[in-house]
């Protein structure tokens, strides 16, 4: 011991002992770690042991730690369980809102500020998750995907009708789905190119677009033979068949002549999934009310809307 102490060399300037190593005349100081740093280091070591005991920390051999592959710790902490509990909590919080929604008429929803607020929030959330991909975040729609804000409804715009559409979808394999099919007049060679062009001119003229008078007259004849059974003689459409009103200003597939010709040529086949089974009834209620309340909803029995008859 005394020998050792004798060997220790202290730096003259700082008073710190050296390690005895020398490189090119430079001696390495053996400056100790600051005490506060060292104590924090010891404290973290101690903390690690406490953590191992309390929290899941170590991989475990199969069967040694129950169903998991790691030690559970005394606190039996599980982040997965926490998330499940939080989700259950959230559902419990929302339950009262969904319970109030069940069986409520759209008038009741509209007149109850609390329920109205709930429907708009819950509906917007469900819409964003499930519907916005096709209909747009603001339900404004795209070519081929209807705008849900306006007053145009292919299959009816009452709360009940909207709910039915959401539940069973359009042209799905659900037995209760809305179904109809417009022929592909061009592709299946039911009409010639010029005939299709004339029908397009006639249909466009129904909503005030200008076209050649001869073409319109010719198109009208073909229309009455080929189209009037679904779209009605006056072009006002038929909701029972999802046949749109051709006299209004709304064009699902575009109002350009080329677009109209194209759609007569190939025949549209727009589909929407059936949501029953994917979403619970309460969520479908909220979605239907949300869509209804976007501004275009029709009160029951008001099927004389622009696309109705």
């Amino acid at each position: 011991m005394s020998d050792n102490e004798h060997d220790v060399e202290h730096d003259a300037h700082s008073g710190t002992q050296t390690t005895g190593h020398t490189w090119d005349g430079i001696k390495e100081l053996d400056t100790p770690l600051p005490r506060w740093w060292l104590w924090i280091f010891y404290a973290t070591c101690a903390w690690a042991v406490v953590y191992w005991v309390l929290m899941p920390a170590w991989p475990a051999l199969p069967g040694l730690a129950g169903e998991t592959d790691h030690t559970r710790g005394l606190r039996d902490h599980s982040e997965r369980a926490n998330v499940a509990a939080a989700v259950a909590d959230l559902q419990a919080q929302r339950a009262s809102g969904f319970a109030a929604l069940e069986g409520a008429s759209i008038e009741q929803i509209e007149n109850d500020p609390q329920l109205l607020g709930f429907v708009r929030a819950a509906g917007e959330s469900a819409f964003g998750d499930n519907c916005a991909t096709c209909h747009g975040a603001g339900a404004q729609g795209f070519v081929g995907y209807p705008n849900l804000n306006d007053d145009v409804w292919l299959w009816g715009g009452s709360y009940e009708e909207i709910r039915t559409t959401i539940r069973f979808g359009i042209r799905t394999d659900h037995p209760d789905t809305h179904f109809s099919q417009m022929p592909s007049f061009g592709r299946d060679e039911l009409l010639s190119r010029s005939e299709i062009a004339d029908v397009a001119d006639y249909v466009l003229s129904l909503s005030g677009h200008e076209a050649d008078a001869e073409a319109i007259a010719h198109g009208a004849t073909i229309y009455q033979a080929q189209c009037a059974s679904c779209h009605m003689a006056d072009g006002s459409g038929d909701r029972l068949q999802g046949a749109p009103n051709l006299t209004d200003r709304d064009w699902l597939y575009g109002s350009e002549r080329d677009q109209v010709i194209d759609i007569i040529h190939r025949g549209p086949y727009g589909v929407m999934p059936s949501w029953e089974g994917r979403l619970d009834a309460a969520t479908i209620d909220a979605l239907a009310a949300y869509v209804y309340l976007l501004g275009g909803g029709e009160s029951d029995g008001a099927a004389n809307g622009p696309t109705g008859r």
Partner: protein, 494 residues
Amino acid sequence: MSEQKKHAMAAPGIRQSKAEAVNAADTRELYKKREQIYPKLAHGKFRSLKWLVMAVTLGIYYIVPFLRWDRGPDAPDQAVLVDFAGRRFYFFFIEIWPQEVYYITGLLILAALALFLATALFGRVWCGYACPQTVWTDLFIWVERAFEGDRNARMRLDKSPWSFNKLWRKVGKHTVWLLIALATGGAWILYFHDAYDTLANFFTGQAAASSYLFAGVLTFTTYTLAGTMREQVCTYMCPWPRIQAAMTDREALNVTYRFDRGEPRGAHKKSESWDDRGDCIDCKQCVAVCPMGVDIREGSQLECIQCALCIDACDDIMKKVGRPTGLITYETDDNVERFEKGEKPRYRFFRARTMVYATAFLIVAAVMLGALVNRTELELNSQRDRNPNYVILSDGSVRNGYTLKVVNKANEPRIMDLVVEGDPSIQVRVLGAPEDDPMQLSIEADRTRDFVLYLTLPADAVDGPREELRFRVTDRTTGETATTPSMIITGAGE
């Protein structure tokens, strides 16, 4: 007797104190460890004034949460309440919503200007009398004195080895300190929840976790700041001592040593004449009573909080030696110089600095008063839907959606009429409005409510990409009205 001989005498019957100004500029080294200060109890008018200020400020702090103010059945009846859960601030007849936080801003500006003005006139009176740090430190020193005695006894006790006597005094002191600290932190939380409920809940363990947290934090800070840190808070932590140099000037009434009268200082012998010497007998009582550990005779200095206790101590001595009091007094630097030249003192309370502070104070106060008097209890905001920006209906008419936010700050529910001022052909639909009264908006007391509105402009009325309009709601009972501008986007020309 031999003990007494060690003491130098400052004057017949007056010993020179051994007190050292531990924080004086020439004494304190930059990295020196803190030296404990043992302020001696002073007696006199400023000490009495400080006791009074302490009683009043502590009284306000502890009593205010228990004052009641009737605001009707739907609002809390606590006179002063910061209601975080309800997002309201109540101050007697004033009720402030979160968006009106500018009242608090204004109040802080007023407080700052008042501080500037007070400093320009009377130096650091805030520090010396009313600052919580000063008040609580004073209180803690009072407790310390009650347990351990005055300056000399405390110094002896601290130097003495541990004994039962020392132990119980120390334990007693710290216990009372902790109780006061707890009462300080405990009273703080009463300002944030109903005081009576909170008090009951606090001791039964049912108060909110945040209540215990803040009570705990403030107990800790009170105990450390007033008990153990004391003058270091003022010297090192508080920014005000640094700012004050810019606020005070040569014409401000500061606690000042009249060196024109005092110098040359020195012990005074019984038969010695007072001619050709100063009144200061160098008894160092001013240093002994100083809670900041400075010597006021070195002039104004950063550490001095101007608590005026040295005035009391010095006046006491001056009376004993038969000299006029006021050797240390509230005086301006300019006047001390004038005294030295044999001139008369001059006091100018109205000077550019004070006038600017006072004017700024009055302007801010007037603006705030005006804002408070004209504060509306009915507000209206609108937000137009942007997704979709507009909706073209089947007949070519255009519809825009809006969220109308009505703020009712009154303690009464309201029934209001909505009017859309703009193109008369606009059709209005309010979601959830009664069928027989489609333009009626109703709102509960003290609430905000969102209304969903759809405005439809017929196709033949569209004559541009947008039309300006204005929403107006009018209370059917009181006639109060609020408006907000908006527009309808038609998409024409796109």
